[in-house]
Amino acid sequence: MNANPKIPAFVILIACIAVPALLVIMWMGDAQKELLAAPDSTSDVAVASMSDDEYCSPELKRVLRRVAGACGLLAGAGRGCQPSDAKTVAQMNGEDFNALFGPMKKRTHIIQFDADETELDDGARAAAEAAWGDQGGASFFFVVSRASPDGQRKHNLELSKSRAEAVMNYITSRDKELQKQIGLLYLGEDYAQLSEEFCEWNRSRSSDECNQKEINRSAFVAWIDCAI
């Protein structure tokens, strides 16, 4: 047998190493092309942001911004709104003002008080906790308090103010820093009185009967899901 093993061995060696070498060169070339053509990795990724719900139309935001500014929710503003202030900044009638809160029905809690009282009962405290705990990505917590049209208007204004502050004090009793997120709006008996329709909303006294007077002895609390 005259086979010369050196020639086939050399050929086999070249063939065996050339195949992987060429494959690697080809794959590397493809990777280089893909790398240069690749888009920015985060270009299609959402960026973290506060909630901005569907109901936050530009018009609603404009109104909220005015109200929030006057009520101390925006930087540099004072805290607490007089009813006249609210009416002015909202630039709408009471019915339209209440309609603003319509889409927030599920998140809103109406904390009810006894006549001429500002103390939170167990149900009121539970409602305040529930409302506060449901912040999600909302930036501002609104407390809109009212009084029923019994007695003096001035007294009712003070009464609604005390009710709003009672809610805020309860929520911020563990952390004063939370005040920076809470806006108070006390309306007395003058402006945006609630209709009996609101008896159907989340009330702290849901098992009790409800009429228009009772629903207005209240503080209306909710996180607002609009980036203003």
Binding site: P8, C16, Q135
Partner: protein, 413 residues
């Protein structure tokens, strides 16, 4: 001493004795096993190289070479993304893949088996070398099998194909050696073995040089992807880890995110985590608490995050437990989040009374709001070295390369 050569009756020249046929088929079988190993190693090398474009790609994960490509989590993906899949990772983006070296070794074994089978005589000198050569991939297979199961905790089918090919190659080479003629009347085999070994080293070196030479270049390598706009933490939402290592870092994570677990393990295995003063920022991708999502990617992550925030000094314990039981917790949470909360309370009684409270929910919200303040992308994991964010494409294969560069920059080197 008996001669291996016989005198030809006609010519009077020395001729070779007839071949012993039983060894040759085993050589072909050895070549076939080498070819199988080369196929599996080639598939793995191809998968590795496709990821050099810094994008996500499917990875083959099957005992049938080239089959079972999948984009999802798999043992093959875990192993490929692990620091054990390549060498020189701090010098080269992704490093030099082990599978490439295996590719070269198997190609070389195919060559040696075929070359030996083409020899006019099958002698133990030649088959002995081949047998010895096949021991190398076998030893590496045993070593990587142990690393894969004991350290990485995952088994990849393509690797298994390589292990099986290695084992068969060794076995067939042994059988070929058994069937070969004894080596008699010849000088020492070492010079020839040395030459053959040099050929093998040359094959491996050639492929490695080609890989490094043609390695894709990215003009954005070593650069960061964004900075923290408001790194301050007035609400104390960042969970601190050890703080005596030098360079401050923040990892944005979701305790039930598989990618976060993988990243955490890669970081630990790389050893570079030892140089970081790591803080954790919780960013659960669970719509239960994260308003930025319309549906939960990792249900139950809010509950685990709350547990971590309840006792910051024991947060790492909770995180380790969550990582270890991630699949189970996600499964349970899909049925009922309350069950996850019960499991957490059972495992960590100290969170009772805190878990689910408004206070801890508020803290978790503040954590998410920190993400808003810093305009973080809604994804996990993210790593900030100092205030610079490591690019997402550099958090797996390119982690060591990029992180080493960022650490040097942070240290002013």
């Amino acid at each position: 001493m008996a001669s291996n050569f016989e005198l030809d009756d006609d010519t009077g020249e020395h001729t070779l004795p007839p071949l012993r046929p039983q060894g040759r088929p085993w050589l072909w079988a050895t070549a076939a096993a080498g070819l199988g190993g080369a196929l599996f190693a080639g598939v793995s090398t191809h998968d590795f190289i496709t990821h050099l474009d810094r994008q996500s790609h499917s990875i083959h994960c099957s005992l049938v070479p080239g089959a079972g490509a999948s984009l999802g989590e798999s043992g093959c993906r875990t192993v490929l993304m692990s620091p054990y899949s390549s060498l020189f990772r701090t010098e080269l983006w992704g490093g030099l893949p082990i599978s490439l070296l295996a590719f070269a070794v198997f190609a070389y074994l195919v060559y040696r088996a075929l070359a030996t089978s083409l020899q006019p005589r099958l002698i133990k000198r030649d088959t002995g070398y081949l047998w010895l050569a096949t021991a190398l991939p076998l030893l590496m297979s045993v070593l990587y099998g142990i690393i894969s199961t004991q350290t990485i905790g995952a088994l990849c089918e393509v690797c298994l194909g390589i292990y099986i090919s290695s084992g068969l190659g060794f076995l067939f080479a042994a059988m070929a050696h058994r069937g070969a003629e004894p080596t008699t009347g010849m000088s020492s085999p070492w010079p020839l073995w040395g030459r053959w070994f040099a050929e093998g080293v040359g094959c491996v070196a050639l492929l490695a040089i080609i890989y490094v030479t043609f390695s894709p270049e990215n003009p954005n390598d070593k650069k960061s992807c964004g900075v923290l706009a408001k790194a301050e933490d007035p609400s104390k939402i960042l969970l601190a880890s050890k703080h005596d290592r030098g360079t401050s870092a923040i990892m944005v994570l979701d305790p039930l995110c598989p990618a976060c677990r993988g990243f955490d393990r890669r970081l630990e295995a790389s050893g570079l985590g030892e140089q970081l003063d790591m803080d954790y920022m919780l960013f659960p991708l669970d719509a239960k608490c994260n308003w930025m999502l319309s549906e939960s990617l990792h249900p139950g992550a809010c509950a685990v995050s709350e547990a971590m925030l309840c006792a910051p000094d024991r947060a790492e314990q909770v995180l380790s437990w969550a990582f270890a039981n991630q699949e189970d917790l996600l499964q349970i949470a899909r049925e009922s989040e309350a069950k996850v909360r019960r499991q957490i309370t059972k495992k960590f009684p100290h969170v009772k009374g805190c878990l689910g409270s408004n206070k801890v929910k508020s803290k978790l919200r503040n954590s998410l709001r920190w993400g808003v303040a810093n305009a973080l992308p809604v994804l996990t994991p993210q790593l900030f070295v100092g205030d610079k964010r490591i690019c997402d494409e550099d958090t797996d294969l390119g982690l060591e390369f990029t992180l080493t560069a960022m650490l040097k920059e942070a240290k002013g080197l």
